[in-house]
Symmetry: C2
Subunit: 298 residues, 2 copies
């Protein structure tokens, strides 16, 4: 039942990405190809799903604006993956079971494809805000989003990740900084964006923010766990790469059992917060989603 709900949402997002993605048969044609190669390489589409879920949970008006923001969050997520995979960063050859962008198009085009997805995400949002009757909400949502992506957000997290990559003595506070900014802040932003666009009050935004914080952390810890116990075929990427790269992970610092326990605790808290604020009927999908992510194997 949940899997069907999720699949329906994923298909909706795929449709939105086809609608909002761009291509042009000009001298820079290969740039558009590279952008779309990674944008349509699959993935869980969690971020746009969260934008839309928060928006619908609060009965938002003007679904087109939530849809534009949603599509743009996936473009931004794809941008961050393309740059993260570069030889200058994580130097990954595979992503979602397919060769990474730079392996197909070369490092230069991959840099530009990432840049273009980030920039076009905002271009797309602005074009749609111009048509909205709720410009103040839209600008507030865009402020939250841009902040989560920039140097105070995921780019700060990626920096901390990069400079601590080969260190043997990374502290838990640093690891938490990396997780907070590399992953969690974006997930929180997606939920807040959807809520703000729907005109949510502060308490509602805050509940979604806390939920996002918890499942974001749980998600990242689960990533670390799967790198140890996962199946590389299911994951679409090699396992054991963290250990190979001598990367500090939750599993390395806390051990496997305590890491699993932490995922459980964070998930249960997330469910309680969302349940208390919105009730089981309305929050059903987000509750199921938290459970699903806790138990995911890929």
């Amino acid at each position: 039942m949940f899997k069907e709900d999720l699949q329906k949402r994923i298909e909706h997002v795929e449709e939105l990405l086809r609608k909002y993605s761009v291509t042009k048969d000009n001298e820079a044609k290969i740039l558009f190809e590279a952008m779309n190669y990674s944008l349509f390489a699959g993935g869980k589409r969690l971020r746009p799903i969260m934008v839309l879920e928060a928006f619908n949970l609060l009965n938002g008006d003007e679904s087109f604006i939530a849809e534009a923001f949603a599509a743009s969050t996936e473009m931004i997520h794809t941008f961050s993956l393309i740059h993260d995979d570069l030889p200058a960063m994580d130097n990954d050859d595979y992503r979602r079971g397919k060769p990474t962008n730079h392996k197909v198009y070369g490092d230069g085009i991959a840099v530009l494809a990432g840049d273009s997805l980030l920039n076009y995400a905002y271009e797309n949002i602005i074009a749609n805000i111009k048509k909205s009757n709720y410009k103040d909400r839209c600008l507030e949502a865009m402020a939250v989003l841009t902040n989560a992506i920039g140097p105070f957000g995921i780019m700060g997290g990626q920096t901390a990740d990069l400079i601590n990559e080969n260190k043997k003595d990374v502290e838990i506070s640093t690891l938490k900084f990396i997780h907070e900014y590399k992953t969690t802040i974006f997930i929180r932003a997606c939920l807040k964006v959807g809520a703000i666009l729907a005109g949510a009050n502060n308490q509602q935004v805050e509940a979604l923010d806390k939920y996002g914080h918890n499942i974001g952390f749980a998600f990242q810890i689960q990533d670390d766990i799967l790198d140890v116990v996962g199946n590389s075929e299911e994951l679409g990427k090699p396992v054991g790469s963290d250990q190979k790269n001598d990367k500090t992970t939750y599993v390395k610092l806390l051990g496997l059992d305590e890491s699993k326990e932490e995922v459980k605790t964070l998930t249960n808290e997330a469910i309680k917060i969302i349940l208390d604020e919105f009730g089981r009927d309305k929050a059903k999908f987000l509750i199921d989603l938290a459970e699903y992510l806790k138990n995911r194997t890929k």
Copy 2:
């Protein structure tokens, strides 16, 4: 006289960059350092000067919003230079007489510093639009700006530049595409942004757009000329690199004399357009600027 006018404007821009740039003493401190290393490495500050000049020419209200946009255009320009200098792109070791960003901070941080400057430029604009009484104008200006930067703008130009870099048979139409999108569209956008923020009518925006088109092209051709006849000490970068890299340039396709003639023609046209629309008094600085750029040696 003009040099003093220009210097005053450059100093104003430097002040704005100090005001709008960011730093933070956290785990990602080095990211902010890298962003500011390149942002404060000097340069002509032409793009923010054009935003402000168009805005003032049209007696715009709310100078803070023009200033925020102006500062952001320089952040975006710096982002494009940092990525353009990467080994995956032009592989340049020096920029403005100083080691390029990746030579100081490494390729990974340079990628992230570029990303962060692009993203923060928009973050900064959005934070200021929220305070403006002219939100529609601001959104229109931001639509023009984002379009000029993305895949339909400079990123498309950089792509065409990259894929044609080592080709021996590049056609003039391709070279024009590269110049149009790599350089000119951004200069045009800066002038249009300033005009739109000031509430200009279509005819005024169009005159500035044409002026920008002409001086943008003249600027790029002059760049090609200086790579042949320039002084590497004045330029702060080695000359002859285009020939060394077997790059197709205006000089290579048209010869030095015809290239110089083209710079003159484009400049004279630009001056006529702006003079006809705004008169000598108001347009004085932009007229002098066009002359100055035509005669520049660095």
